[in-house]
Symmetry: C2
Subunit: 360 residues, 2 copies
DNA sequence: CTGTTAGCGCCTTCAT
DNA sequence: ATGAAGGCGCTAACAG
């Protein structure tokens, strides 16, 4: 109720007008000072302005600046799942690039909820971000209508979105899947299970699975005979389905282990996880079923390189996550600056990190 | 090169003026509609406005609204280290609460760099966020001058900051450390090493270490005799120092294992990690040194409950991370709304999750 | 070199 | 029930 009698509440931040008054000059000069048009200011005036700013602890209001000049240096970073270390790593690259380019990333976490994704996109739009980097859930274009061709510039990360033409940067899934599969074949494995979450909706999963199948079906040409490849869908969102899938895998492992005539890796089944969450779920299950020494019966290879990989000794395909994030921002920045080329694809190579799991 | 020389660039978003014109009315009515002052609008006008908004795909500019009404519903969330799963989990709670309260969190990741922290704080301030939640690096007050008493409302998470009076929410470190230590003592361990990153600067680490030492020094009263407690500082930021510290631990483990007269857990040394990053580093080292069966010689107990804990079978103290984040936002919201009570402490209990590591 | 003026998109009295 | 006018904090022409 009290007016300005007591400065109990936060003592309103100083505005450019306050500074102008304090420095005994006009707002324009302050503005010029703020924008580094230092050449057009007498040293004397400049000093006065500096002092006034100091005294008032003045900090220009970005919102107002943004409103005026029509851009606020904000970009949105929409992440499907921060729980996945992949996301955090990409984020680091994004942050570094933003820092370098004078951008401020608004990080939004959809937590695997389509509804959240929609909501955040709308919010970003409303805050007039200059562009967005989207690590989308596996959804069709409609939910991200505001971005892309018609709306604000967008760059996709890891996954493309059906019907949305936009730059995309991510792993070279095809090459990486081949790398992994060949590593297993070269290691002597003859039964390989590719385990992946439902993949129809998510382009990266689709590509990985397809490349795996292709290598498996053409491998006779590479001198390998009678190797079998299977694809197993693991729906982590549904515990019941997950159980069923795991049971199927168990049967295969048990069967393989009971074959008498085989030795070495030919007797072990190899499991190729399409990403870290899948690998974790598999490892937990296998450990629960076969005990601490589960890797004696199963070899595990996984996309991503989570922090526990080294501890467990599983082989992985590490993605150049930092660079993915960095490049995404660079692409976006170009778009913001008006570059009009056709949609670009930036596929970065993965790195195979061989550990005990596949090389004993 | 361009067909329609006009709409080549993004077709400027519609403004409230456009909508007013389209609906054949004044800006005021549009504004009223947007703010739900539906009672003061004839159904007929309302319908026209609705239609106009649809047609123009109009979305009010939050920046402008914020500028005008002096608040933008933005809050800052400053995180010391997103790489630590703790942060991501807290974040989930923060997001949920923001969602519920109509706030939009600006997530800033300091990546363990004091300079970053300073920079982001300054940035948040210029964007005129209404408050900040700070999971600070271990720094003194000065770097976060803009917040707290003098500046915008702030709530601390996990760690207090010397010289800054503000609400704080986090784990009840004292109780949790006691819980863990007693668990080890009850399990028969007689040599316990508390391993922690440099803790002078970080209140939570300090509290944990102090509580550990206190329990160890008063335990004779609890009927336990001759148990030894040691504190080992592991400076993860410095590889060399880390090596040295680990070597010291190794010597202790080797010595304990060579004692003839002891059996069971009395022969194993227990290591109590002050957080997940420390636990991971320890586990990696121990595995490298003692092989896959390292837990036969060392029991590991850790604060935090990282995803690999179950896989490795180490005992942990899980923090109520989600709730911590949620409560932090609630506190902040109250402050934003003007609540003036003295600084509050919200200490939430941890949960001991016993696994094979400490119970074989 | 420096100040004046006119908005950016929106909300808010204050009239009508 | 509706609209006109002024201003939030700042920048960008224009003068001088």
């Amino acid at each position: 109720m009290s007016t300005t009698s007591t400065s109990q509440t936060t003592p309103r931040r100083a505005t450019i007008t306050d500074v102008a008054r304090e420095a005994g000059t006009g707002k324009t000069s302050i503005s010029r000072y703020l924008n580094g048009e230092t050449s057009a200011l007498s040293p004397e005036l400049r000093a006065r302005i500096e002092a006034a700013i100091q005294r008032l602890d003045y900090q220009p209001n970005q919102m107002a600046r943004g409103l005026k000049r029509g851009r606020n240096r904000l970009i949105g970073m929409l992440l499907a799942d921060l729980t996945n270390p992949y996301s955090v790593e990409v984020l680091q690259g994004v942050e570094a690039a933003c820092h370098a380019l004078g951008l401020m990333p608004l990080i939004c976490h959809a937590a695997n909820e389509v509804e959240m994704e929609r909501r955040y996109l709308q919010l970003l739009t409303t805050y007039r971000v200059e562009g967005v980097i989207v690590n989308a859930l596996g959804v069709r274009e409609e939910t991200l209508r505001p971005v892309g061709s018609g709306g604000i510039p967008a760059v996709l990360v890891d996954r493309s979105v059906e019907g949305l033409v936009a730059d995309i940067v991510g792993l070279d899934n095809r090459a990486a899947a081949e790398l992994g599969t060949r590593h297993l074949l070269d290691g002597g494995f003859r039964e390989i299970w590719f385990v992946v979450q439902p993949f129809e909706q998510v382009s990266s999963r689709r590509l990985r699975e397809a490349a795996f199948r292709e290598v498996m079906s053409t491998q006779p040409a590479a001198g390998v005979k009678d190797a079998q490849g299977h694809t197993l869908v693991l729906n982590l969102a549904d515990p019941l389905q997950t159980e069923r899938s795991l049971a199927e895998l168990d049967r295969a492992i048990d069967a393989a282990n009971s074959h008498a005539g085989t030795v070495g890796n030919a007797a072990r089944v190899a499991v190729f996880a399409a990403n870290a969450p899948v690998a974790l779920r598999l490892a937990l299950h296998l450990k629960a079923r076969y005990g601490a020494d589960w890797q004696a019966r199963v070899a595990l290879l996984s996309f991503d390189d989570p922090e526990w990989a080294e501890l467990t000794g599983i082989t992985t395909i590490r993605q150049p996550t930092y660079e993915i994030g960095y490049r995404a921002v660079e692409f976006l920045y170009e778009r913001i600056e008006g570059v009009q080329t056709t949609a670009r694809d930036c596929l970065l190579p993965g790195e195979l990190i061989v550990r005990a799991s596949t090389s004993r």
